[in-house]
């Protein structure tokens, strides 16, 4: 069984399209509503997703961890995660899942920077800095450490201790994968940058906080 996990926070206007797009490529879509104040849960459910709700806002990282646990309880063999703001194309799910389905990888990262002409310059710079920062603090080299478009095998999803709360989970999970000697592969993915997805992206302050947390994770490990 293939399951898509979508962590979401106040995405009522776009979540339905994302869910419907995913249902063409996976058996079940799980939306983890991270304590949204809008109708995200309702919109996702009406579009055909199963919805889990956080009573407290815990961040994208924790929402992903909740979704992975639910997927494992459903008996998922392969799990794909993607952002709820519509920046990832559900039509690329098969390409992201392929390496884990063929047993070539335990974890796949959909790398936006491999399609670099699509990424705005400031985002590209920020992304490169995050990659460098992750390498410095966690010792992991990946072209796009902050991508939420990923695929996990059952083994990876069950073994990765996803304790990071916010966006730093992207880097933290890569460090944990390296520690557990899981096979990580990169796949180029398209990113749709709309005004909406830009407004929903990490703000400057969130980015600083994420960098701080990555550094802290590095100290811990």
């Amino acid at each position: 069984m293939n399951v898509a996990v979508i962590p979401a926070f106040n995405e009522a206007t776009v979540i339905a399209d994302v869910v419907r797009g995913c249902l063409d490529h996976v058996d079940v879509v799980l939306v983890v509503d991270d304590c949204s104040s809008d109708q995200t849960s309702l919109a996702a459910k009406r579009a055909g997703a199963q919805v889990l709700r956080h009573k407290l806002q815990r961040g994208a990282g924790r929402a992903t961890a909740t979704g992975l646990q639910a997927a494992l309880q459903l008996g998922a063999r392969f799990i794909v995660t993607l952002d709820a703001d519509g920046q990832h194309l559900p039509s690329e799910i098969p390409a992201v899942l392929e390496p884990v389905q063929e047993g070539r990888a335990d974890m796949v990262v959909g790398c936006r920077s491999l399609n670099r002409q699509e990424m705005p310059m400031m985002r590209r710079l920020g992304n490169r800095f995050a990659n460098l920062w992750t390498w410095l603090h966690l010792g992991v080299v990946v072209s796009d450490t902050q991508s939420g478009f990923r695929a996990y095998s059952k083994l990876a999803a069950s073994q990765l201790p996803l304790t990071a709360r916010g966006y730093e989970f992207c880097s933290h999970s890569l460090a944990e994968a390296a520690r557990l000697e899981l096979q990580v592969q990169e796949v180029p993915v398209t990113v749709v940058y709309t005004d909406y997805s830009r407004s929903k992206g990490q703000s400057f302050m969130t980015s600083l906080r994420t960098l701080g947390r990555i550094a802290r994770e590095g100290l811990r490990s």
Partner: protein, 124 residues
């Protein structure tokens, strides 16, 4: 022994803290071990405020020039330790809240009557 106004002020604060601490220890609101550590610390504060010349002896023992320096260095070291412990505690509680949030979300999801026909199958 004549105490200055600031010494009286400090003694009042330490005295109030110690009285409150003793009450908390008496009612077992805080563990005895932790209470004794605070008691020793505030007791030391009372002694140093009441007998400032003792801080000079402490400075001599620690190898710094002035008693005030010895107090300030000790206070900074102690406060750093406290901040570290506080952050660690916050971290632990944060992780516990996260685990609880996940557990509640999973529990509610499992208990929902509708097994998610539109979503492509049941939950188990």
């Amino acid at each position: 022994m004549t105490l200055t106004l600031i010494q009286w002020g400090f003694l009042l604060v330490f005295g109030f803290s110690i009285a409150r601490l003793l009450w908390l220890m008496y009612t077992r609101a805080i563990p005895r071990g932790r209470g004794l550590i605070w008691l020793a610390l505030w007791g030391f504060g009372v002694v140093v405020v009441a007998k400032p010349e003792l801080s000079a002896k402490l400075a001599l023992f620690l190898g710094v020039t002035r008693g005030t320096d010895a107090i300030v260095y000790s206070a900074i070291a102690f406060l750093s330790l406290l901040v570290f412990r506080a952050f660690r505690l916050i971290d632990l509680q944060d992780q516990q809240i996260s685990r609880l949030t996940t557990a509640l979300a999973l529990k509610e999801w499992r208990e929902e009557d509708d097994p998610g026909e539109e979503g492509g199958g049941g939950k188990r």
